[in-house]
């Protein structure tokens, strides 16, 4: 073997650098995430004496915990979906609790008409239109929410109203210009999905499907899967996945 190859081999072996022949295109981003139970930190045994830096770090930690405690409870599967009221592109108010109060299942879709991944599911593919069509008469209400701030991509009543029309979105597009509702749900991407059961609790949250490509839809639509299970009176099997998309333009 020649020197160059040896050098390279050394590098490769040392780093265990990737050399696997790829065997598929499955996306890691759209795959189910196992949701570890969020148990309380277990009581900690007294450790050895702490030095100053550790104490400082502890202080900082306490401060942070305080700050966190002030914030709203974290949205995760099984917890009550935070209530909100927002206006849609036509100026009509929509309140989550009044929908769940009527026994509706509600699907929230974080939305930005300028995001390629939103374009993927509204224009290149009719993912959302088809979902809405399939479930609208089964007591499921879809709501798109745009949490983009003024001056950012996808902002504005007019633009959103015209995209709603162009793309044939037959459900409300809600304008959350302050980003308050987005932050309440800790929504970070568009699209990011939440399925809220009749009990008002989050039944599913995460990606729309299992392909993070900017054009090709996935094989598994997680929202459809969750809705089918809820409607069949079953427990939702995939409660949380890793969403993919653009950032919400807060």
């Amino acid at each position: 073997m020649e020197l160059k190859a040896k050098r390279l081999l050394g590098l490769l072996a040392a780093g265990a650098f990737a050399l696997s022949i790829a065997t598929g295109t499955a996306s890691a981003q759209g795959q189910p995430v196992t949701t570890a139970p969020t148990k309380e930190a277990q009581p900690e045994k007294k450790a050895e004496p702490k030095d100053k830096t550790e104490k400082k770090a502890e202080k900082a930690e306490k401060k942070e915990e305080k700050k966190d405690a002030k914030d709203a409870p974290k949205v995760e599967p099984g917890v009550a979906a935070p209530d909100f009221t927002l206006k849609d592109t036509a100026g009509n108010e929509v309140t989550l609790s009044s929908l769940t109060g009527q026994g509706k299942i509600v699907v929230l879709e974080w939305f930005n008409p300028g995001c390629p991944f939103v374009v993927k599911h509204h224009e290149l593919n009719k993912t959302f239109a088809e979902l809405n069509k399939k479930y609208a008469d089964k007591g499921v209400v879809f709501l798109a929410i745009n949490s983009g701030a003024k001056g950012k991509q996808g902002f504005g009543q007019e633009l959103n109203a015209s995209k709603k029309k162009d793309w044939g979105i037959e459900y409300p597009v809600l304008l959350d210009e302050t980003g308050k509702v987005g932050k309440l749900y800790n929504a970070k991407r568009t699209p990011e999905m939440f399925v809220i059961g009749k009990d008002g609790k989050v039944a599913y949250m995460g990606a729309i499907d299992d392909n993070d490509d900017s054009k090709t839809p996935g094989k598994v639509n997680y929202v459809a899967k969750a809705l089918d299970e809820i409607l069949a009176g079953k427990e939702v099997t995939t409660k949380q996945t890793r969403p993919y998309g653009c950032s919400v333009k807060y």
Binding site: L8, F17, I21, A28, A47, E61, P116, K183, S247
Partner: protein
């Protein structure tokens, strides 16, 4: 070829990329046949999207580069050098809130094979809403080991071709695609510019760090001392020796199933000192890259670290038990 076969792959990440061979088309790749120039035209909507954003030309330009002259039976680095317009970024293969890393489909002459990309250390990129991503700006070269067939004739030519797509973002995101081709001649040295691009990428690759049973990395000249331990349930502390200006931890992209959920990595993943305390929602193994920034150093030191799952509680709160 034997070199390629003997090196363990990082299956979790490697499998993500569809590496196509002309001679042995992998089943998973067949769904995306190599496009002919005619079929490579962007769909109308994308053209519209670009026109709307007034961004006709690509923000990123990709070219193929080699580390060495290809010689029969050898393995060299084949790099894709991405040159990115100022203010824009592309995504690293790491735990990111948004975006997707570039993807490649290779078309190589019979007998040539290419492995998966290795990823240089990336930069933290944050946005309002505690959105945290890890990105490359200006320039990055993603390297993959290229195996030259043993029977390649000196002086003969081969065409290497990469069909690439990536998402490029600043305040907005644009999906872009490009085909990068490169004719290479057996025995012909690459240009200095190519070598330099490869070298920059090699310099930024995380150095593997083998932690011992106590979570302490080996002391290697020119490298920082790294320690990483479970200090209590769901808590991992990383410490780096010497004065540090900034320390960052970038978790690997989670595997297809499972994966560790980090609590508030937005704040906990970065420190102005040589110490990080990570909070996780499980006791599962933790893998990622440390970025160690020191005053006067031209670039950060990148170290890949991997911490085994925390074994069951009880007597392990203060010290990890040593293993035989």
């Amino acid at each position: 070829m034997s070199i390629l076969a003997s090196v363990p792959g990082r299956s979790g990440r490697g499998a993500w990329w569809c590496v196509a061979f002309l001679s042995v088309a992998l089943p998973a790749c067949e769904a995306q046949p190599a496009a002919s120039p005619e079929s490579r035209r962007a769909p109308a909507s994308e053209v519209e999207a670009r026109a709307e954003a007034n961004v006709e030309p690509n923000k990123v330009r990709a070219e193929l580069v080699l580390s060495d002259a290809p010689q029969p039976g050898q393995v060299i680095w084949l790099g894709v050098r991405f040159q990115i317009q100022d203010e824009w970024h592309i995504y690293a293969d790491a735990l990111n809130d948004t975006g997707v890393p570039p993807k490649v489909e290779w078309t190589l002459p019979e007998g040539w094979t290419v492995g998966a990309w290795v990823w240089p250390g990336a930069r933290r990129y944050t946005q309002p809403g505690e959105i945290l991503d890890h990105v490359y700006e200006r320039e990055v070269t993603l390297l993959a080991p290229l195996s030259v067939p043993a029977g390649a004739k000196p002086g003969s030519e081969a065409m290497l071709r990469a069909k690439l797509d990536w998402l490029v973002c600043k305040d907005i995101c644009i999906p872009e695609e490009q085909v990068a081709s490169k004719p290479v001649r057996i025995g012909t040295e690459p240009s200095d510019a190519e070598r330099r691009a490869v070298q920059r990428a090699l310099d930024a690759l995380p150095r593997p760090t083998r932690l011992d049973a106590a979570g302490v990395g080996p002391v290697v000249e020119g490298e920082s001392k790294v320690e990483m331990v479970w200090t209590k349930p769901q808590t991992v502390v990383i410490e780096v020796g010497g004065p540090v200006e900034k320390l960052e931890f970038v978790p690997d992209r989670p595997p297809a199933e499972g994966g560790v959920e980090f609590e508030n990595l937005f704040e906990r993943g970065i420190s102005p000192r040589g110490r990080l305390e990570l909070k996780v929602k499980s006791e599962a193994p933790i893998k990622g890259t440390l970025g160690i920034f020191r005053k006067g150093s031209p670039r950060p030191e990148y170290r890949s670290v991997s911490l085994a799952a925390r074994e069951s509680v009880e007597d392990k709160d203060s010290k990890p038990a040593s293993k035989p």
